[in-house]
Symmetry: C2
Subunit: 217 residues, 2 copies
C-alpha cells in the first residue's frame, strides 16, 4: 500500500515534468512566432494552451485524491502541497506564452520586435526557453544543484529587462509608441516566465531538502 | 475536537479576510502615490509589503498544520487547499501594488500619469481598490452573490485596459515613450490585481458550492 502510494507521488512529479515540456514548446513557439511574424505558429500556441490547462487540472485532481485518500503527513504532505503550487506556476507560464503569441499575431505581417530591440528580445526568449527546458530534469530528477543554477539565469533575465528599458528610454528609440509598448509588455512577460521557472525550481529544492533556498522567503 | 477544528477553519478565513484588508490599503496607497507623486506613500507601500508576506506565511503555516493534524477529507480538504491558493493570490496582489508604487517613485517629482491618461488610470485604480475591498466581506461571509458581482467589475477593468491602449496607439499620444511604457505597464498591473480578485472570489464560490462559477474552468 505505501509503495503504491509512493509510486503515485512519483507519477505526480513525472506529470509535472511532462507539463514543463509542453510549456517549453509553448515558450519556444511563441518566441518563434514573435521573431518571424508567423501567424500560424502564434495560433497554435494560443489554441494548444487548452492542453496545458487540461494537463494541469489532471495533476490537481491527482494531488487532491492523494491528499484525500492517503492522509499524508510531514514530508509527503509538503511534497503534494508543493506539487499543487508548481502546477499553478506552470499553467501561468503557459498563459504568459499565449500573451507573447498574441502580440506576435496582432502585428502580423509586421514583426512586433524592431531591429533595435531584436538582440535583447532574442536573448530574453532564449534564456526563458532554456530556463523552462531545465525544469523537466529538475522536477523529474529532484535535482537541487540544477535548480539552484536557475537563479543565475534569472539574474541575466533581470539584466536584459533593464537593457530593454534603457533602449526604450534613452531617447534613441525610433520605432514609435506602439512598438515601445509591445517591447515593454514582452519584457514583462519573459521576466515573469523566468520568475515562475525559478519559483518551480525553489519548490523542488524545498521538497528535497525541507529548506527554502538561501535568500528566499 | 471537531468543533475546535471548525473554529480553526473559520479563523483561517478570518485571517485571509484580514490580509485582503491589508492589500486594499496597499492598492489604495499605491494609487494615491501614483496620482499625486508622493514618494513617502510609495515608500510605505513598498516597505509594508513585508507585512503582507508575513501574514500570508502565517496563514500558510496554519493551513499546513490543519492539513497535517486533522487529516481532513472532502469539503474540509477542499476548503483548506482553496485557502492556500487564495493566500498566494493575495500575496501577489500586494506585489503588484508594489510595482505600481515603484513606478510612482521612479517619476517623482513628476506624476507618472499624464493628464491625457489620468481619467482612465484613476478609474482603473478606483475599480481595482473597490474589487479588492469587497474581498474581505466575501471571504469572511462566504458571500457567493457578492463574489459573482466581481466578474462584472472585472469586465469594466478589461474595457479600461483597451481604452489605455487606444489612447496610446491612435497617434494622439503627446507624452513620449517613457510615459507610454509606464501607462502600458500600469494598465497591466491593475488588470492583474483585478484578475486575482476575481480568482479569489471564484475560490470562495467553489468552497461554498463545490462548483466552479459558470464559464470558469
Amino acid at each position: 500500500m505505501r509503495e503504491a502510494y509512493h509510486e503515485q507521488l512519483d507519477a505526480l512529479f513525472d506529470d509535472l515534468a511532462a507539463i514543463s515540456v509542453q510549456v517549453t514548446k509553448a515558450v519556444h513557439d511563441a518566441s518563434r512566432a514573435l521573431l518571424t511574424s508567423d501567424a500560424a505558429i502564434a495560433e497554435t500556441v494560443i489554441s494548444d494552451d487548452k492542453e496545458i490547462d487540461r494537463a494541469a487540472e489532471s495533476v490537481e485532481d491527482a494531488a487532491f485524491l492523494l491528499l484525500s485518500l492517503q492522509q499524508p503527513v510531514a514530508g509527503d504532505l509538503r511534497t503534494i502541497v508543493a506539487a499543487l503550487r508548481m502546477v499553478s506556476e506552470l499553467e501561468r507560464m503557459g498563459d504568459l506564452s499565449v500573451h507573447v503569441a498574441k502580440i506576435a499575431r496582432l502585428r502580423v505581417p509586421e514583426i512586433a520586435v524592431p531591429p533595435q530591440a531584436r538582440p535583447t528580445l532574442l536573448r530574453m526568449a532564449t534564456v526563458a526557453e532554456e530556463m523552462v527546458s531545465r525544469l523537466g530534469p529538475i522536477i523529474g530528477g529532484r535535482d537541487v544543484a540544477a535548480a539552484e543554477e536557475l537563479e543565475l539565469m534569472d539574474d541575466e533575465m533581470d539584466q536584459l529587462r533593464v537593457t530593454t528599458f534603457s533602449q526604450l528610454l534613452v531617447g534613441e528609440w525610433t520605432h514609435g509608441i506602439e512598438s515601445a509598448v509591445d517591447i515593454a509588455l514582452l519584457g514583462r512577460y519573459y521576466e515573469r516566465i523566468a520568475d515562475h521557472a525559478v519559483s518551480v525550481a525553489h519548490r523542488v529544492v524545498f521538497v528535497v531538502t525541507g529548506q527554502h533556498p538561501v535568500g528566499v522567503s
